[in-house]
């Protein structure tokens, strides 16, 4: 039982559960204007009683986002190093039973992927791997050392590690870690990941604390929307983010917003999240966490993503390819591996940049450089 898990457990108390099930708009209205929301206030903002107050919440979320982030929107892109995976996550295109072409890039291929991505204008690269013993920390460190020559910011989305391994990554030039809990509902989590390398809920839950303790500058938490009831997951996600803000206070905390749309095989999304609920989550997060970056990927459609900027989103991926080798082999698809998920926003980084400028936003490709510290 870790301090974080204990705090999450407290949200299952009868009093918090009843707030989350509140149906009275008046109760919600009373907390929207508060400048410092407590977790119980957030439960009200996520409750069914808030559904008819979304416009009020959106206005407030807009004010906070403007005050804290102005018009800046950070852009990044993922670089998939490997789609080899021992995982059995039924919702994932990389799961080991999926009949796709498996590929792990060589260091030379990583470099040429990086070069291709860099030519598209991207300066923040997110390295992604499947959960497989072959995708080890040493190789990631080698990849990061190469890519940091081209990219001012290198972050990773990889299985959970030990603190000392996060320290190795920092040494190699990594400044951010993305690790989604997928769902905070432990029963659902355990059911979905039985027999998978991912079946240790607690080890995953505390991984970002280990990353923060090692000195990682950006910690990105998230839920994979669709796996469990979104109201309960959103409340716990917010608490996790707040916990990290308090305990890893030198790190910036971000909320990732991946949502399941289409899934492989016969898996049925248990709790689909519609656009309205998705937007609801974004604004509730903003009201509770004024300074957290909110990341929306190319899993979402262009117009929908752009509209989320006004109510809390601050970071987009752009021009993403979710298969290893996807950037350098645009024409020759036969040499790329299978993709993790389908892209719904196919705009190039250049087009995203132009579209955001037209909407009055400032697209930011570079807002950090490790050269400042080493």
């Amino acid at each position: 039982m870790t301090p974080l898990f204990e705090q999450l457990q407290m949200l299952e108390s009868a009093s918090t559960s009843s707030l989350l099930q509140n149906t009275s708009p008046a109760a919600v209205s009373a907390v929207i204007g508060k400048t410092r929301l407590q977790i119980d206030d957030l439960a009200l903002l996520l409750s069914p009683g808030s559904d008819e107050l979304l416009e009020e919440m959106a206005q407030r979320a807009n004010g906070i986002t403007q005050a804290r982030f102005g018009n800046a929107v950070s852009l990044y892109a993922p670089l998939y190093i490997s789609n080899k995976c021992s995982g059995t996550c039924p919702y994932c295109g990389f799961k080991r039973t999926e009949k796709i072409k498996r590929k792990t890039l060589s260091l030379e291929e990583v470099i040429s992927e990086g070069d291709a991505l860099s030519r598209s204008g991207i300066q923040h690269v997110l390295l992604v791997t499947g959960d497989c013993p072959g995708n080890g920390v040493d190789f990631l460190c080698d990849a990061a050392r190469q890519l940091k020559k081209t990219f001012p910011s290198v972050t990773v989305e990889i299985p959970p590690l030990e603190q000392s391994e996060y320290a190795q990554l920092i040494e190699a030039g990594v400044d951010g870690v993305t690790l989604y809990q997928e769902t905070y509902n432990k029963e659902v989590y355990d059911f979905l990941h039985k027999g998978s390398p991912k079946d240790n809920y607690m080890y995953r839950l505390d991984a970002l604390s280990r990353a923060g303790a090692a000195g990682i500058r950006k910690l990105n938490v998230g839920v994979l929307w669709g796996l469990s009831d979104w109201r309960g997951d959103a409340l716990k996600l917010a608490l996790h983010a707040r916990f990290l803000e308090k305990t890893c206070w030198r790190s910036q905390v971000l909320i990732g917003m991946p949502r399941l749309h289409k899934v492989p095989g016969d898996f049925t999304i248990p709790h689909p999240v519609c656009n309205r609920d998705f937007a609801h989550i974004v604004m509730a997060m903003r009201l509770f966490l004024h300074d957290a970056g909110i990341v929306v990927s190319t899993r979402e459609r262009p117009e929908f993503r752009d509209n989320l900027l006004a109510i809390g989103a601050t970071q987009f991926s752009a021009g993403s390819k979710t298969e290893p080798g996807g950037y350098s082999v645009q024409e020759d698809t036969s040499s790329a591996g299978g993709a993790q998920f389908e892209i719904d926003d196919h705009r190039s980084p250049k087009t995203v940049e132009q579209d955001l400028s037209k909407l009055g936003y400032d697209p930011v490709f570079k807002d950090w450089d490790r050269g400042f510290i080493s």
Binding site: V31, A58, E245, K246, A279
Partner: protein, 256 residues
Amino acid sequence: MTDQLVIAGRSFSSRLLVGTGKFSSAQVMKEAVEASGAEIVTVALRRVDLDAPSDNMLAALDMDKYLILANTSGARDAKEAVRLAKIARDGGLPPWVKIEVTPDPRTLLPDPIETLKAAEELVKDGFTVLPYMPADPILAKHLEEVGCATLMPLGAMIGSGMGIRTRDAIEIIIDNATVPVVVDAGLGLPSHAAEAMEMGADAVLANTALAIAQNPRQISEAFKLATIAGRMGYLAGPAGSSKGANASSPLTGFIR
């Protein structure tokens, strides 16, 4: 009563801490402390004659009833504060210390650098450390990291009775704290104590306001009630203020 203040694993029912300085007599002090309902009472070590305990403020207090929290008032740097704390412990007081390092005798403002140094050393030496500190959110995180059991940011200059002038900074400290926050110094009125508790402070500390009132016993009780009222107000989840209707263009048209 389930709503307990827990400091370093020890539970307290009262969220009002009181000091013992500036009273007109030991008897008046004793009555005021009793009326306050406080369970933690801070005593300036410099005023205690550890060799003749019957001859000082300590003698007036039932040591079994209160946690006596020695403070290092008068210390001008970390070295002096550490020395004072050790003298208190050697003299038989509990190993709990409220660090006060105030090099400027005019303002008595706490020295952030020396306070941090003293805190680090005393924690390592096994003390439960409660530091009186400037309302600085970053200093607060550093003090937590060296192992302090609470944070005790000042509301205003000690003894000023000016109320909570550092409100914005204290709110940040409260929002980010992983240990209890005790608002210390500057609370002149019961309403100031209530305000701190409504803000979400875990406790408050008062001394001068109690000691120099015309009726110390009565104002101590008022502080006790105000602290309880403020805490209840906080726990009740009060409504936020609203500026009324929004005139801006709709932002949720895209999800209708």
